[in-house]
């Protein structure tokens, strides 16, 4: 029976290829993701191992609480550089050096940053201890004195500097003039994953790169014969409560782990996208095998009549799917590795150069690809295979095999129940303000619609097919053909429906949120201009002070973000200038004295106050990132802080002093500074002043409200573009599904096509009828996907409408049009091969086809 399977595959090469391609795309995406992330992981692992290889112990600030913020572990405090003297006294310590590591940008002759596209730029110190310095001098001398510096080779090459040149570096507190004394390289690549590095002699680095005089850690090299653990134990004894010491190995692990987490999220997102493609592929496989079984009904019945057992028939069909699955997985695996190569090249083109590492293809990647690819293929063909094995031998003698229309009562009941559960859950989520039931309800609705497909198709085709009248009889034929087998049409449209549902859901919800953000920017942002540094906060706190001194500036505040522990729970807090915050942000009413909030005061929003039964003057026990434990009194209660927090939470506000005094260097920088003009100052005048001040910060952008909204919209378009590209894969699989179904249907209707041709249908009329059918199938998936996606987004948006004022569902007509155009293109492309096949069919052969 295996031979039968093999012959079937060889006999239908194009069909097998298309079917395999659907799975191969999903597997390829998944394998590519694995290879890419494994390669990145390995590159970073090697990087950190190289950097820390000779360091035996690391002294660092002790985090008073575990914080999990977007900017990473900002809760770990910096430590006093003076601590190094105590560490050096410890027995077994050969070398101990303080290490400064902060943001610093090297500027070219025009004052622009050399590192482009958000590549990291760091300032650090040159310790002169080879085991601790991660770089080696390639050219020139190590840095000396207050202004001597070394730069990494890549940066020197880009800027065209030579040893002895004067150059400028932008730190978070200002621009400094330095002299290039040497060029350093890291390892063999010369670059640290694309980061630009400027290093100064330790005292100079402490002076220029550290605003607080503190350092990020102290690196320790032990004497020979002293184990890392022994060293750690001894150093621990001399440290204050605010510091801790870990082994060099532990330090490498910690750093690797934080990168691993980042890569893990990246991997997860990409894997989900791969999975969506695979599910789309599963629909396609199910449908294809279903049709094939239908067409081979008589052949299978004949086999049964000739004495093969049900098991043998089942094995033969499953055998075919196993071969297809293996083929698809191997194809996907190879494609995935190629994809990873391409992505790595792309990343390096964007400046994120990884150290020379070949793509890493782990056994896990291979095994996962094969298991997932073959598994999904076999699983999807299981139902059709079982159906095939149940064909009675007598079917061989029957004239025409009639495929069941798939409209059983059981199906109707299951479909309606699933739909009702889904809709019910969505409504419950939308009214109760819970996201989870709203989102999972959409999955129920989707499943319900899939099950109800055969019932929905005839109705929808009637409506959607109406415009096809303009195509005359061929259009009508296409329309009639697409509802002739509702079950087949429904499962063909399912793959497209999946992709469209997800795209629509994400697009409509992000559009709605963006539009709400924009309207709150309009209403609640009282500032005239906003300086932003993008995702990574790089604006120095000095910028706020500088602006505050300008006569044209009426009010200014920065917005800092960090975590503190309040009453035992880690909370996200925002640091603002209390005296001006109300002039910049409309908090919708404030009770108490926000402007008077000092370093021991905290402001909370009404919701938090109500939840925790807090009133003005109530005291809260807090732990700050540097370990300080104190009480903070509620100085003010405001109605809504969403505008301060850019529409995230905004439950707690503290004075900028709290950040300045208790937060580590890495949390000192801001990503937003908002400015309001003084009375009588024109927007142009204000802009001139603000842009002048912001010039010190290379990544700063100055925006007015319109530009903020424009930036939001652009960001949205970029997100949607990405989404379309990533989920484009599922769309392609949907198109493949339509093409395969049509090709199989065309084969099935050979006689009919022959008849049409013999009574005078032209080739183009036939092609038009196939295209019409294809467009309808694509439209089916699109319309259902749009409907489900919009319903899901509406439920999710509605569930959040209590939290975000002015949030409502927005379904822009342009989005619907774009989706329709894409769907029609898919329909058009999918019909090309089947249409061509139908059109060029030999009339006589077709009409006499058995």
């Amino acid at each position: 029976m295996f031979k039968v399977a093999l012959k079937n595959i060889l006999g239908h090469k194009l069909r097998t290829l298309f079917t395999a391609l659907a799975i191969a795309l999903g597997v390829g995406f998944m394998a590519g993701t694995f290879v890419l992330t494994d390669t990145m992981q390995k590159a970073f692992d090697e990087l950190f191992s190289d950097i820390g290889a000779d360091i035996d112990a690391v002294v660092q600030g002790k985090a008073p609480f575990e914080a999990d913020t977007q900017q990473g572990d900002t809760a770990r405090p910096d430590i006093d550089a003076a601590l190094v003297d105590d560490v050096r006294q410890v027995e077994g310590v050969a070398e101990a050096e303080p290490v400064v590591f902060t943001l610093a940008w090297v500027l070219d002759a025009d004052g622009d940053t050399i590192a482009q596209g958000g590549a990291p730029s760091f300032g650090t110190n040159w310790t002169g201890v080879p085991e601790i310095d991660v770089f080696t001098i390639e050219e020139g001398e190590p840095p000396t004195g207050a202004t001597g510096a070394v730069l990494d080779e890549a940066t020197v090459d880009k800027a065209g500097f030579a040893v002895g040149d004067q150059f400028q570096v932008q730190t978070t507190s200002g621009v400094v003039d330095l002299t290039l004394q040497g060029v350093v390289t890291f390892g063999e690549t010369g670059s640290l994953a694309g980061a630009s590095i400027v290093a100064l002699d330790t005292p100079a680095a402490l002076d220029l790169f550290s605003t607080s005089g503190k350092v990020q850690n102290i690196s320790v090299v032990g004497d020979d014969g002293v184990s890392q653990q022994q060293l750690v134990d001894r150093i621990a004894d001399v440290l204050p409560d605010t510091a801790e010491v870990i082994t060099g190995e532990q330090s490498i692990d910690d750093q690797t782990e934080s990168i691993q987490e980042g890569i893990g999220i990246f991997r997860q997102v990409l894997t989900y996208i791969g999975l969506i493609s695979l599910i789309a592929g599963a629909f396609l496989i199910y449908n294809t095998f279903g049709i094939i079984i239908g067409q081979r009904l008589r052949e299978l019945a004949l086999l049964r009549a000739l004495g093969s057992s049900r098991r043998q028939v089942l094995t033969s069909v499953l055998g075919e799917s196993v071969i297809t699955g293996v083929l698809a997985s191997l194809l996907g695996l190879v494609g995935g590795i190629a994809l990873a190569y391409g992505m790595l090249a792309l990343l390096s083109a964007f400046g994120l150069e990884l150290p020379d590492t070949l793509p890493v293809v782990t056994p896990r990647t291979i095994i996962t690809s094969l298991v997932v690819g073959v598994g999904i293929t076999v699983f999807s063909s299981l139902a059709p295979a079982i159906r095939g094995s149940r064909i009675p031998p007598i079917a061989a003698l029957r004239e025409q095999a009639v495929e069941s229309p798939g409209r059983s009562t059981v199906r109707l009941v299951v479909g309606v129940v699933l739909t009702l559960i889904g809709v019910g859950s969505m409504v419950a989520g939308a009214t109760s303000g819970e996201v989870a039931p709203a989102a999972s309800g959409m999955i129920g609705l989707f499943a319900g619609v899939i099950v109800l497909g055969p019932f929905l198709v005839p109705v929808l085709v009637g409506v959607l097919g109406f415009p096809l009248r303009v195509l005359g009889l061929p259009g009508a034929l296409g329309r009639d053909n697409s509802r002739r087998n509702p079950k087949r049409s429904a499962s063909t449209a399912a793959a497209l429906m999946l992709a469209v549902t997800i795209i629509t859901f994400i697009a409509v919800s992000t559009l709605s949120f963006t539009s709400a953000f924009n309207s709150s920017t309009d209403k609640l942002l009282l500032a005239d201009l906003e300086i932003t540094s993008g995702f990574v906060p790089t604006l120095g706190p000095a910028l706020v002070d500088t602006l505050a001194e300008q006569p044209e500036v009426g009010a200014v505040t920065g917005v800092q973000q960090g975590s503190i522990e309040i009453e035992g729970t880690v909370r996200n807090v925002y640091g603002v200038r209390p005296s001006t915050v109300e002039q910049i942000f409309d908090l919708d009413g404030v009770e108490g004295d926000l402007a008077g909030m000092g370093s021991d005061g905290i402001a909370i929003d009404r919701e938090t106050a109500d939840d925790d039964a807090l009133g003005i003057g109530d005291e809260l026990a807090v732990t700050l990132p540097d370990g300080t434990e104190q009480t903070m009194a509620v100085a003010a209660i405001y109605e809504d802080g969403g505008i301060v927090a850019q529409n995230s939470d905004g439950h707690y506000l503290v004075s900028e002093e709290v950040f300045r005094d208790h937060f580590p260097e890495s949390a000192q920088t801001l990503n937003r500074v908002d400015v309001k003009a003084a009375d009588g100052v024109s927007p142009e005048e204000l802009r001139t002043v603000v842009e002048g001040a912001a010039e010190d910060f290379p990544s700063a952008e100055v925006r007015d409200k319109e530009q903020i909204k424009e930036a939001n919209n652009n960001q949205l378009l970029v997100t949607l573009g990405f989404l379309f590209v990533l989920l484009g894969l599922a769309l392609v699989i949907g198109a493949l599904g339509v093409a395969i179904t049509l090709a199989l249907s065309v084969f099935e209707r050979t006689r009919e096509i022959g008849l049409l041709r013999s009574v005078g249908a032209t080739r183009s009329q036939l092609a038009v009828s196939i295209t019409a059918e294809s467009l309808l199938l694509a439209a089916l998936g699109t319309v259902l996907g749009l409907a489900i996606g919009i319903a899901g987004a509406a439920a999710v948006v509605q569930s959040q409408s209590d939290l975000i004022p002015s949030l409502s569902v927005r379904v822009p007509i342009w989005f619907v049009i774009v989706v329709f155009v894409v769907a029609n293109l898919i329909g058009l492309v999918a019909s090309l091969i089947p249409g061509w096949r139908a059109a060029r069919m030999d009339v006589l052969k077709a009409v006499t086809h058995e």
Binding site: L755, A761, R763
Partner: protein, 249 residues
Amino acid sequence: MTDAVTAAPTIVARAEKATKYYGFGDTAVCALAEVDVAIEGGRFTAIMGPSGSGKSTLMHCLAGLDTLTSGRVLIGDTDLSTLSDKQLTLLRRERVGFIFQAFNLIPTLTAQENITLPALLGGKDTDTAWLDQVVGTVGLGDRLTHRPSELSGGQQQRVAVARALAQRPEIVFADEPTGNLDSRASSEILGFMQAAVRDTGQTIVMVTHEPTAAAYADRVLFLADGRIVDQIDGPTAETVLDKLKSLGD
């Protein structure tokens, strides 16, 4: 009626030295060997012959469904070998009617739509009065909105006959039109075809292997081994059967 037979008949379709080989070289099989035949207008011509005699091939070539290896076929004055696929298609749509043994109808279209299919394909209106007459003749009046699956085999063939006649084509080709029908339905269908020839001067060419069917024709052509070997005018089932027997010997 009678003057159609006696007056010098017009030739509606003609094959001249029609030769058809299937395959190439040593394995080539000769299906038609320099066949000369003229189909007279307003007459019902049957083509008969044993399996493999080339009767279907002759009809397919006459109808423009198949092409000759050499020789030529004309419908009216049109040499089919000079036509492009598009022109052939239009010829089939406008000047030729077809009735096949089975699978004559498009399952998604109603009986009415199937009957007017060639006109619909050409985007033309059908002559309603004529259509009513044809539909009335084949007795389908109340079945026009039904789909083929809701019709019996005999009714389906009646729809096929109506379609072939509805365009008033120059010539109708019928390929074993009663091959799948019982005797009663067969005689109905053949009766309609005969009536169409007698009453309206329609030209019909029918391939069949049944002597009783051939008896409805005005003239029977006998093919064997790719050649026309004999013919009978005004056949009866008996004369046809006798002739077939003699051919078989």
